[in-house]
């Protein structure tokens, strides 16, 4: 019977850590709960920072290297904070054929950012996705969680300009 390691204390009294802890508890702090736990950290905080990775590694009794390995392997996990608005351009096949490239070029021309970048004023992050499944509405964009279909570079930049 391996010795039960003491669980590390919560990194701060931020209430969101309790959500993360609840996820780990639900899986009995088993190591296979790692991905589910990282999902819950990202849902709560928006991204994964070093504090979070260390806390999760300690709680699940996993080496930090393994936690870091998993966090960087999967595209969905972000290690940097996002801007106030997130614009995800779908680059699935249907969207590509119907002009997703022009959407990215339009954003690049206007804001000088590439996929993965955030504007200097932290206003907008540009991301890409491998098919959001809205192929019937190609080319599609997910802006702050809402899917916008049948976009052109003009309609999209107008939408982005209108954000605060």
């Amino acid at each position: 019977m391996p010795l039960q390691q003491a669980k590390p204390p919560l990194p701060s009294d931020d209430k969101r850590w309790k959500l993360v802890n609840a996820t780990m508890r639900r899986y009995g702090y088993a190591d296979h709960a790692l991905i589910e736990t990282l999902h819950s950290v990202q849902d709560a905080f928006g991204f994964l920072d070093e504090t979070a990775l260390r806390f999760v590694a300690g709680s699940l009794d996993l080496p930090l290297s393994k936690v870091f390995g998993v966090a960087t392997f999967y595209h969905i996990f972000m290690l940097k904070p996002k801007g106030r608005h997130a614009c995800v351009v779908c680059t699935g096949t249907a969207c590509y054929i119907k002009g997703a490239g022009a959407l990215l070029d339009g954003i690049h021309t206007r804001y000088d950012i590439n996929p993965g970048d955030t504007t200097d004023d932290d206003r907008l992050s540009l991301l890409t996705a491998r098919c959001v499944g809205a192929c019937g509405l190609a080319p599609a964009v997910v802006l702050n969680g809402d899917v916008l279909g049948k976009q052109t570079a003009e309609t999209l930049t107008t939408r982005l300009e209108a954000l605060d």
Binding site: H32, F73, I97, G133, G136, D146
Partner: protein, 536 residues
């Protein structure tokens, strides 16, 4: 529970709605929601009120014609999609007109004919409830005969009889490989082991494919029922659904379905009051295409990086945590309930000699009717694209159709008359894949398309084996060079050689099939490559 008890329950659920004569169904699947279905549903619900007790407004799953969303169907209760009055591009301001049409003449300006080939030429088995029942309602699934197959299997059939029925049906894996489902199930059933697992692969990663998403969003109980029948047949009591995190609506509906099925005793301990127990858990993917590969998927469920491992041993012998594991795709599981209900012979009567049943395809790209269709195996590509899909818009001409995603290939005009099944597509240098079909017109450059897919495989390569990790990178570099007009004949020759090497030596399906888009475009559109060569 006996089949009669369930039938009684279904009759009771139907009786609760006996007074309802007409229904207004609003598509609430992801695509129509993106075009603004939620405010339409709200406006209609408000106007309808209690509907005088004879009419109701309800949210349903995908009706198929995604490009015309939001879609609203007005129909008699129990009436299917083809017999309803369908409205397209509906706005909340159209709600009063639609409500008036419930008992009157249809609103012609919004009408979308349902006698057009897009609807009339389909044969819906997997999608039979999509767009008709409320996916969040357990009662509505039971009322249309849901869980009858599970109860029949548990009370009237032995596991061996279930296996025989599935084998007789000739069903082949709908995830793309086309491995006979009955054989896979029998192998897991025969493998000794105290603990066995069932996994539903809902990590629909092929860009341009949204069949599984539509099924999960429109009829989630059907998938759970198929999984439970599989668990009974192979002797597993624990299952996972591995679903993409990019499909939040599908995850939400699946969670609701799980909770309700558990509450009603169709999952969990003592399923339907029998000795059989079956627990299902949802696991979220995290955006890695390679996790669609079965061994990588299992690694991901175990909380590891999604990297494949060599096979054999196959998951049937040593899968999740080393236990015998059955992995099938969403659409495969969705076919199980009708097979048990109607018998394997019935299913085997549909389709072609070696590919039985129907297949759901997602039509996208440069095609008039983008959306979801289900047709018998063996339907010709020309029928699918020109008749059902309505052909190419904007007066352009057809150039190629891409099937099988990044693992598939492009089919040119001269082969459109071939009937679609697993084997015919293979002879054309592509694969069935999970069912995405992307149509391209004469404005698409095939070298560019090949480069796009190679870029996809390059970034999605997990990095475990060298041929895939380095090969996709090199092939992408060569394609980029050729596409930019700087390539030479020697580059093209090297590209072809690399294709063979990567195909022959990669560890998993991702690498083995990564050259397919290049090879198939070279086979049919070699002149486009040659026209771009600097020394050509």
């Amino acid at each position: 529970m006996h089949p009669e008890d369930l039938a009684e329950k279904a009759a009771q659920f139907r009786a609760e709605d006996a007074a309802i004569k007409r229904e207004v169904r609003v598509c609430m699947a992801a695509s129509c929601q993106s075009s603004g279905a939620a405010p339409v549903l709200e406006a209609l619900t408000q106007l309808c009120g209690d509907g005088g007790g004879t009419c109701r407004v309800k949210g349903v799953g995908c009706m198929g014609l995604c490009s015309a969303g939001p879609l609203v169907a007005v129909a008699d209760k129990d009436c299917d999609l083809a017999d309803s009055v369908l409205y397209r591009d509906v706005m909340p301001t159209d709600a009063p007109d639609i409500m008036r049409s419930v008992c009157g003449a249809p609103v012609e300006r919004l009408r979308c004919p349902t006698d057009q080939p897009f609807f009339a030429r389909q044969q819906r088995i997997v999608l039979e409830n999509c767009g008709i029942i409320d996916p969040d309602s357990f009662k509505s699934y039971v009322a249309v005969g849901g869980y009858a197959a599970l109860v029949k299997a548990l009370s009237e059939m032995t596991p061996a009889e279930v296996l025989r029925e599935v084998t007789t049906s000739g069903l082949r894996g709908r995830g793309g490989g086309g491995y006979p489902t009955g054989l896979k199930w029998s192998t897991v059933a025969k493998t000794p082991g105290a603990q066995k697992y069932v996994i539903c692969n809902a990590d629909e990663g092929d860009p341009g494919a949204f069949m599984d998403r539509a099924v999960l969003e429109s009829d989630p109980h059907r998938v759970l029922e198929g999984m439970a029948i599989a668990g009974y047949a192979i002797g597993a009591n624990k299952a996972y659904v591995y679903v993409r995190a990019e499909y939040p609506l599908a995850v939400e509906r699946l969670q609701t379905a799980l909770r309700k099925a558990r509450g009603a005793g169709f999952l969990g301990n003592r399923v339907a009051d029998t000795q059989f127990s079956f627990e299902v858990e949802i696991r979220l993917g995290a955006g890695a295409f390679v996790c669609g590969e079965e061994t990588a998927l299992m690694a991901s469920i175990e909380g590891l990086r999604g990297q494949p491992r060599p096979r054999p041993p196959y998951p049937a012998e040593s899968g999740l945590w080393g236990c015998p594991t059955l992995i099938n795709n969403v659409e495969s599981f969705a076919n199980i309930a009708p097979i048990i209900r109607n018998g394997g012979d019935w299913f085997a009567g549909i389709g072609t000699e070696k590919s039985k049943g129907t297949k759901v395809f997602a039509l996208a790209g440069k095609i008039q009717n983008t959306g979801l269709i289900e047709v018998p195996m063996g339907t010709s590509l020309r029928d699918i694209i020109e008749v059902i899909g309505g052909g190419i818009p904007d007066g352009k001409t057809f150039k190629a159709v891409q099937t099988g995603g990044p693992s598939g290939g492009c089919i040119p005009e001269q082969h459109l008359d071939i009937g679609v099944d697993y084997d015919s597509l293979k002879t054309l240098g592509t694969i069935m894949g999970s069912g995405g079909m992307i149509v391209m017109d004469d404005t698409s450059c095939m070298v560019d398309v090949a480069r796009y897919f190679m870029e996809f495989c390059m970034t999605e390569s997990c990095g475990k084996c060298i041929p895939c990790r380095a090969g996709t990178q090199q092939m992408h570099g060569l394609l980029d060079k050729i596409a930019n007009g700087q390539g030479t004949a020697a580059d093209l020759a090297l590209l072809e050689e690399l294709c063979e090497v990567v195909q022959a030596t990669s560890l998993c399906g991702l690498g083995q099939t990564a050259p397919n888009p290049v090879l198939s475009t070279l086979r049919y559109f070699r002149d486009e490559y040659e026209a771009k060569l600097a020394d050509g």
